[in-house]
Symmetry: C2
Subunit: 238 residues, 2 copies
């Protein structure tokens, strides 16, 4: 049973909170984004995506468990906000961008949120009525690129980690995204199955020099593995 516990701890399946746990990220400030964003069309309709927020919440929790001072900027989700983190709930990409700017400076920025690339060009104050001659196309405009903006900011955190949720060519798109955004690591995620919204995840951490394949595991265990790598980057035990 002791051997099982040790194995379990090594695999990141045990909670690291409690007084006896090591706090290698004590004194470090982390900002984590999570969940989808919702982009309103009118007072009742919106554009969104299937992100559940689970992976981002787990990352925020795992960093807090390692002693980091964590601010979680979260889009709307159906799951409870984690304990031990400061939570800034937002709806839209623009609100998320503002909350992230307010949260900086920080040592660590982890962008797990599935930020909508686009939002409706106009938001009507009244619920749109069905037109007689069929619906007009929905005009879209680009949302702020939060990850890229943080990377270009004069308050750029020492370690910036992005997530790439892709349905195909996952690793290739993740490598390209790392360079294009200017971040240090990209965590590649294959969401072609039921990962987005599901309980498990299979991550590949893409850095400038390495590509670390993590096993398929719970989002909590995957988050702990990522948090340990982050602690290791800052000189803590890996």
């Amino acid at each position: 049973a002791i051997a099982d516990s040790v194995m379990s701890a090594l695999q990141g399946d045990m909670s690291l909170d409690g007084l006896s746990a090591p706090k290698p990220l004590a004194g470090r400030r982390a900002v984590v984004t999570a969940g989808p964003t919702r982009e309103p069309i009118d007072p009742v309709r919106y554009l969104s995506n299937h992100s559940s927020g689970r992976q981002g919440y787990a990352v925020a929790q795992a960093l807090a468990d390692l002693g980091a001072d964590v601010e979680l900027v979260s889009g709307p989700t159906a799951i409870p906000l984690p304990h031990g983190t400061r939570n800034s709930p937002v709806e839209t990409a623009e609100e998320m961008f503002s909350a992230v700017k307010r949260a900086l400076p920080a040592d660590i920025f982890v962008s797990v949120a599935a930020v909508a690339d686009w939002r409706p060009a106009t938001r009507t104050e009244r619920k749109t009525k069905k037109p007689v001659d069929g619906p007009a196309p929905l005009q879209l405009v680009e949302n702020p690129d939060i990850l890229r903006s943080v990377c270009l900011s004069d308050k750029r955190p020492e370690l910036v980690v992005g997530f790439a949720a892709e349905t195909h060519d996952v690793l290739e798109l993740a490598r390209a995204k790392r360079v294009r955004k200017g971040c240090d690591w990209i965590v590649a995620n294959d969401v072609s199955g039921d990962v987005m919204g599901g309980q498990e995840n299979m991550m590949i951490i893409v850095t400038e020099t390495d590509e670390i394949h993590l096993p398929r595991q719970s989002k909590t265990a995957a988050a702990r593995a990522l948090a340990r790598r982050i602690a290791s980057h800052f000189g803590g035990p890996s």
Copy 2:
């Protein structure tokens, strides 16, 4: 305390389940739709609306409590499915339409769902990449009109009740909707505040002859008031 209980029961705040409660809708079959629909753009993105499903679930529960055999056809929600009803979970308006057609014939149809009027004209199998020259407009097509189709069906239930969630000119739009859809009653709802997704509701039941204003109350109490009126229509105690 007894007087309080009686008052509470009269006001519809007590559950009517249990052996001793009257079952005026015993032997009646009801189909209730609830929640939003989600209309996919690609494997991760979708169009939806702020409906929480609470009002529809409460109506399904209230009808079941009065003895009706209830099938609840529900879009995706973050709340638990009610007990004592048969539940058909769906995602899109087209899936909801199919499930409703399968559920007929019935004596009662209550359309509480906030069915998306439109869906993206095409659904891509891969996650759409951000184009370099900005987003293209999202082409939309009209969804099936479930309420109107049920009213025109040769399996039209004896009592068809629609809901009209509006942000302005609520009563006027509800009256017009009743006639346009061909249903018996429309329940008008002002969603200009936080009603959609909230815990309370203020309903006006619009029939051919009457407009019954219910007080602002919990969605559960409002559902019970509506269910009692439905029972009364079928000859039960009002």
